[in-house]
């Protein structure tokens, strides 16, 4: 039993819950969306682990059912980023014509996302996403981040871009296989450790 031993001239008990005050550091958390596949899970966890380990920032992985849902959440600032495919960005999100050349496609979605949506495409991971997903759309996978998130965390783009080109076809296949048992976080951690990124 607690006792207040000295007089209590002012004691204010707030019955209603107050919203959590934005007390600096712990409030700096980030949210990454995933769109349901094992590949998405493992890539999101790689980003989450990298950010968490290198900056101490808390990162939460939030599941969605589709790119449409994740994209809508990103636009509403419900999440800070998710991994998108250039082919999906071009044809589904932007409703534009497919482009055959991977570099041209990446540049096209990067420019339009930046100018029209205030979203930034970071460096692609390096594998052919169309091949890895077994679809015909020519595509690369890359993190798409809210521009205001990058302003709040100025070092974030440089950090996440360390993953650029680090995951080739063979590596993503191996990561997916390892993570298929539901151990995405552990697989992601192992990948980063083996590549001396954390």
């Amino acid at each position: 039993m607690m006792k207040v031993l000295r007089p209590v001239p002012v004691l204010l008990l707030l019955i209603l819950c107050v919203a959590n005050m934005a007390f600096s550091c712990v409030g700096k958390s980030l949210e990454i969306g995933t769109t349901g596949s094992v590949q998405q899970e493992v890539l999101a966890n790689i980003i989450a682990e990298l950010i968490g380990e290198r900056t101490g920032t808390t990162v939460k992985v939030v599941p969605f059912n589709s790119s449409d849902e994740a994209h809508a959440a990103l636009l509403k600032a419900d999440i800070d980023m998710y991994v998108e495919y250039t082919g999906v960005g071009q044809t589904v999100i932007l409703q534009a014509q497919p482009l055959a050349d991977a570099d041209e496609l990446y540049k096209a979605v990067k420019d339009r996302y930046n100018q029209e949506l205030n979203l930034i495409w970071l460096k692609p991971f390096g594998f052919d996403a169309a091949q890895s997903l077994g679809v015909t759309l020519p595509a690369e996978a890359a993190p798409v981040v809210r521009k205001d998130t990058l302003k709040k965390f100025p070092a974030l783009a440089r950090l996440i871009n360390k993953l650029g080109g680090k995951i080739d076809q063979q590596t993503i296949a191996l990561l997916e296989k390892e993570a298929s048992g539901g151990q995405s976080k552990q697989v992601a951690h192992g990948f980063l450790k083996n590549n001396r990124l954390i």
């Binding site: 039993m1 607690m2 000295r6 204010l12 707030l14 019955i15 819950c17 958390s29 101490g56 808390t58």
Partner: protein, 282 residues
């Protein structure tokens, strides 16, 4: 007459009878309070700039697991802008802990000292928090205390901190700090069995002296630099669990990322300090 009696009754109630409660939700303390015994905290307890909270030996604060913003981190906390004095004894330490049946790191948020006018902590145990204690923009003295099973054991930024004779173990980060012009003395502590012993996040310039500590068995890293820690840091005169000193394999610095500064542990000790003898009751 009735009015007079009412006033006298009110004065008697508010100033003479000790208030006994065992549970609080959100609470603002703007006066001087002394607590003892056990209290369950189910929200944010805030000690304002004008306020003061003293915890007597044996006091137990039990924080409920509440997650108002659904970020996975408990939101119950003790936030101090005024005075905070928690002096336990070796026999009767003060305990800050989780109410959960199966407690986990991050069940509650932290003891947070922010621009605190006074912060003195002795023989306190803080466990299962996001941060066992956070110190920001103020002076704080912490000794003979234990920080265990937290995400961050002791965390500070832009502070003048003295951390001595304490035991930091089984946290994700034993110590996590952003110096940012602050100064500190971290001396005669045992920092062991954390994932990261010392996490220098950013803006460290060597103003915080870590010496005469036992820094051992922190895996994978005894010392880790954060993404923006570009200045070299030295941790002199510590025991690293090996008479050869601090092993490069147990450090994350410019040897793993060229943009970072370099970590050194000059003049390593050749035997442990056994710094927490008093806490462990050896």
């Amino acid at each position: 007459m009735i009015a007079l009696l009412s006033i006298l009754s009110l004065l008697l109630f508010t100033s003479c009878i000790p208030l006994q409660i065992s549970e609080v939700s959100d609470l603002v303390i703007s006066d001087q309070q002394v607590w003892q015994g056990e209290v369950r905290i189910k929200g944010v307890v805030r000690v304002t700039r004008e306020g003061s909270l003293t915890l007597l030996p044996g006091t137990k604060l039990v924080f409920s697991r509440i997650d108002r913003d659904a970020d996975g981190i408990g939101d119950a906390e003790l936030f101090v802008e005024g005075e905070f004095v928690a002096r336990g004894t070796a026999d009767r330490p003060i305990l800050l802990t989780s109410a959960a049946t199966n407690p986990q790191p991050g069940d509650w948020k932290f003891l947070y000292l922010d621009y605190a006018r006074k912060a003195e902590i002795e023989y306190l145990i803080s466990e299962y928090a996001y941060s066992g204690v956070q110190v920001h923009f103020c002076r704080a003295q912490i000794s003979f205390s234990e920080f265990r099973y937290n995400i961050d054991g002791v965390r500070f930024s832009t502070a003048n901190i003295s951390l001595k004779e304490s035991y930091l173990h089984h946290n994700r980060h034993g110590i996590r700090y952003e110096e940012r012009g602050g100064r500190g003395l971290v001396q005669r502590n045992r920092i062991s069995d954390n994932r990261i012993g010392i996490f220098a996040v950013t803006r460290g310039e060597g103003r915080t002296l870590f010496e005469l500590n036992d820094i051992i068995d922190n895996e994978p890293y005894q010392v880790k630099m954060g993404l923006q820690q570009t200045t070299a840091l030295d941790f002199p005169r510590n025991w690293w669990g090996d008479d050869k000193g601090l092993s490069a394999e147990t450090v994350f610095d410019q040897r793993r990322d060229r943009s970072l500064g370099r970590v050194t542990g000059t003049d390593p000790l050749d035997r442990p300090i056994n710094a927490t003898r008093q806490i462990e009751g050896d």
